[in-house]
Symmetry: C2
Subunit: 252 residues, 2 copies
């Protein structure tokens, strides 16, 4: 047990820009024919926009510390101010980014504050509780189309040691995000040592291939029929479980 | 431009265990009907085995330092000795793993030395030059089946800040591994700031979903028709380009 049969990842383009108050489930149901067993991966950008997790830069007065960091990183001082308000703590300051810990313990650049795909004059912040957002979107989809899909909320993030950004799961509902392979045997009958697979992040990275990063207008994808396959794995179903606790982290 | 149409990822199971001297391209060509435009992702485990990158533990005499590290990490002292021989330097020692820098500059746990899916009494080490392995496999596939496929050699690795392992590209040929999105515009016409996407790692992580980690016997997958899509992106075609140089890395 473990690998999956042929995988299909289908784009779910949305026709228009998402705005605060939008019913995301409705927009998705209009664009895609959801089926029992689907897993939906959706970019947090549109979840944040629908939830009103947008900050108008006009109303931001940068603190002296924000100004200092802005100079050091070449960022807009108002954006740095938003980052500082969103962050629980600063992990490290890089040449043109600030590594932060955010609510819930996730470590990411710039407290997850996005300038790209934000309406002019605004920045996008992370959803208040992405696992709750995933649960709510799943519930609403069940209500609208009568189908129980798994939901993963994704973000695009950098990482130490390697260039470039990848996909990570920041919210989830209805699918395991970590697959515990303990006790499974390899081809020679030996028990596995690398036991925990970050399923949620694998899905998020696979989804990024189809979503893109710019004006593709494709904030979601569907993994067709994947839910029953994933459900064979035991494992936590909240993306929060992927966050390594500082006591287990030798890089903090 | 950027996102991709519906993506199909097909498993390429191999019938038997790979042994030193095996012609991997032949084994793959027997199992899969390769088509022009395919991208093949293949686990380094079988590349290593075919290239004879296996170490017999019987012949390993652990040094005093290896014994000390073995005690500290709970690992087999002979395995630690192999890790030390494979490593260029030790980045950090964790509770049950050793973070190392290996030939070529990649940072990974245990110098990429694998016990799982290694023949009994052996460990698997990384291919000597995975970009060369990818190039050679691609050349040999072209020779055997007359089709030019893109090749990504993958490994399963952990990372700071997040639990669980994901896929990374350690070798590549014929496809860009980093996609430079600089100059591309978002939905509102603004130029992207997060500009470099780690395409190779996205492919590797997507591939892991289908390969599994244990006795699935599926060391490769095919991304059907993906090569022309990827070739729209400018970007380096050696996986080595994904390795962040220490001078650009604030976590070292
Ligand atoms: N239709 C539509 N697509 C959007 C909207 N916002 C973002 N996207 C798309 O969602 C995908 C991911 O966007 P990105 O900015 O990378 O989001 P992030 O990775 O979650 O920070 C891209 O295809 C964007 O074009 C929106 O309001 N409407
Ligand atoms: N048929 C076959 N499959 C193998 C062999 N070695 C590994 N695999 C499969 O390759 C996939 C990846 O193996 P894994 O040990 O995770 O490799 P790694 O991630 O590259 O270190 C799994 O499906 C394994 O069962 C082999 O010699 N023969
Ligand atoms: Mn984001
Ligand atoms: Mn993105
Ligand atoms: Mn490996
Ligand atoms: Mn693996």
């Amino acid at each position: 047990m473990g690998g999956l049969p042929t995988l299909r990842i289908e784009p779910v383009p949305l026709e228009r820009k998402v705005r605060p108050g939008d019913d995301l489930a409705e927009l998705i149901a209009e664009s895609a024919e959801l089926e029992e067993g689907d897993v939906l991966a959706i970019a947090h950008t549109v979840v944040s926009k629908a939830e009103g997790a947008l900050i108008s830069l006009d109303e931001i007065e940068p603190s002296p510390f924000a100004k200092t960091l802005a100079e050091r990183t070449g960022k807009d001082p108002r954006v740095v101010e938003v980052i500082l308000r969103e962050a629980e703590s600063i992990v490290r300051v890089g040449p043109d980014f600030i590594i932060t810990e955010v609510r819930g313990g996730m470590v990411c650049a710039n407290a997850g504050v996005d300038e790209s795909n934000a309406p002019p004059g605004y920045v996008i912040v992370l959803p208040e509780d992405p696992d709750r957002s995933a649960r709510e979107l799943r519930r609403r989809l069940r209500e609208l189309v009568g189908v129980d899909v798994g939901v993963i909320i994704t973000d695009t993030q950098g990482r130490p040691f390697r260039e470039g950004v990848v996909g990570v799961a920041i919210g989830a509902s209805g699918v395991p995000v970590l697959a515990d392979r303990r006790g499974d045997r390899d081809l020679y009958g030996r028990e596995l040592k690398i036991t925990i697979v970050a399923l949620g992040d694998l899905l998020a990275s696979a989804a990024e291939l189809v979503m893109g990063q710019a004006d593709e207008g494709t904030p979601a994808v569907i993994f067709r029929g994947l839910k029953p396959e994933l459900e064979r794995f035991e494992g936590p179903r909240k993306a929060r479980a992927i966050i390594r606790s500082p006591s287990r982290d030798i890089f903090r």
